[in-house]
Structures are given as C-alpha cells and as structure tokens.
Subunit: 141 residues, 2 copies
Amino acid sequence: MASYKDKGIKMTPQRMAIMEFLDGNPDHPSAEDIYMEVKEKYPMMSFATVYKTIEVLKSRGYLLELTIDPERRRYDPDTRHHHHLICVDCKKIVDIYGDFPVNVPEEAQESFELVGNHIEFYGICPECKKERRKNNGNIQM
Amino acid sequence: MASYKDKGIKMTPQRMAIMEFLDGNPDHPSAEDIYMEVKEKYPMMSFATVYKTIEVLKSRGYLLELTIDPERRRYDPDTRHHHHLICVDCKKIVDIYGDFPVNVPEEAQESFELVGNHIEFYGICPECKKERRKNNGNIQM
DNA sequence: TCTATCTCAATAATGATTATCCTTAAATAA
DNA sequence: TTATTTAAGGATAATCATTATTGAGATAGA
C-alpha cells in the first residue's frame, strides 16, 4: 500500500501514522496492536480512529482482515494472494507464499462458484518450541 | 461423536439435547444456532449451558471450533481432518474432504514444527448466485 | 439412600467492535 | 489565501459474543 495520496482518501496525521505503521509490517497486528504502537507517536489518537481507518483501508482493498485468531481480528497490509502459518501457542502469524494445487471436488465446483482460497498452516514457532522443552523438564503436559 | 456415554462426561438432558443436535449436523452452527434450536425442546435451556457444553466437548476432542466466520465462532462435530468451502455472501459452510498436497517452503519447515493445515475455499453458493442474478436486473453492484 | 461433587440457570462481567454526536481539520475552488 | 463544503477525529456509549460467578439443584457412586 505504497501510494495513499492519490487514492481519494483524505489524508490526516492519524491516518498517515497508521498507514506508516502498517506498510510492510509482517506482524499481522490487531486493532489494539495498531492503537498501542501509533499512540506512542500521536498520544491524542483514539481507538475509534484506528477502527475507522481500518475500515477505510479494508473497503479500498489496501488491507486484508484475517480470521485466523479466534480472539481478535488481525490485519495484513500485503494484499497479494498468499497463505499463513500460525503458531498454535503464541499465535504468531507468518506469511507463506507459493502456489498450491488445491481444487475442490467436482460436486462442489458444480454448485458453488469458486472465488478463492486460503491455506492456514499450523505449527509451533521456534520460541514456543524452546519454551515447551523447558517446561517439559518440570511440568508434564 | 457417537458414544458419549463412556467418555467420562456426566450426562444430563441438556447435554444430550445439545449432542443430539450436533451429531451429524453438517451446518457448522454457532453457539446461538445451537441455543435457538435446542431451546425448542428444552425451553429452560440457558445460553451459558450451551457455551459450557461446547467447552466440554471441545476439550475432549468431540467438537472443533471453526475460525472462518469473523462474526462468530462456529462448530463442527466432524473431527476428521477436512477442509471447508464458505459462501462469501451468506457464510454457509460446506465440508470438503480430500487430501491436498500442501507443503510449506523449506525456510518455514526448518523453524516451525508443523502440526496441521486447513484450507478455506471461498465461493458463492447456488442460492446466492441466484440472488445475485436477480439483483443485477435492477440494482447495479 | 446418602453424600460429595458436578451441572444448571440466571446474571453479571469482560473484551472486541461498532455507532453516535459534536467538534475540528482537510480538500477544493473562488 | 480564504471561504466553504465535506469528511475525519475524539470521546464515549452501545452492542454483541463470550466468559465468569454463584447459589440451588441434580447426578453418580458408595
């Protein structure tokens, strides 16, 4: 989401700060993550503004909403088609690029008009692997 | 989730009603869907009981929680590994069985310990296709 | 049947998200 | 630059799904 200027979005310091934070951000932040971070620079920032800006960016196609984490919605500024790998422990999300040959069976193809797909990979990230090993020393899981 | 009896779950009429409703149910109902339906038979049913029963079933592995619909959590009594096709209009979810050759790239494999995957297919269901055609006659989208 | 324990139901609490409403700032054109 | 229009910001209330609490009642095993 490189050029906001000429997209018909009214620019404000708040929006610029949010967009700047999101641009190229690989962390799939939640609304709260965005709020917390941007408030550092702009202490007058309101939570409502974060949600409203998310809505604008989403509706214009500059931001994807991820429904991976059941606790909260998370956002991805990379709008290219890609997939995600999520740590089942800490919920960290990393991007997975690549084409996977996934075609639904005939019967579904006939009735539904397919428009896309998204693969969620589940795993345990390096940090949580370490954490688990440590805990296995004392606590049994 | 055929045999609840010998799973160490204390049986009550409420739980039996919920389990009966879920057993073989292909609709991926939400907590509210379950509540609404089961309340017909058991008007004294409380919403809290639905959530608690869901929790018990989930923790014992008899029920999967789907994080596909950003509005609400939905539940799947089919705990076999399978995938889902969701209608982007009405959010109807249908099961997709089949093995898909999806392997994450090397770099992710090295760091993460993979434990599973889930493919979400997006499409437009027959009913919504019809609805869209109808609307295109008058309203432009 | 008795009793310890678990479950129920009602309701309060929480947490994320959305809506409201008035003020203020940005864009556009004179 | 300034005036005017229009949309955005901020504070806060409202909403909605989900979770926690608690006293009363039911269940299962002795």
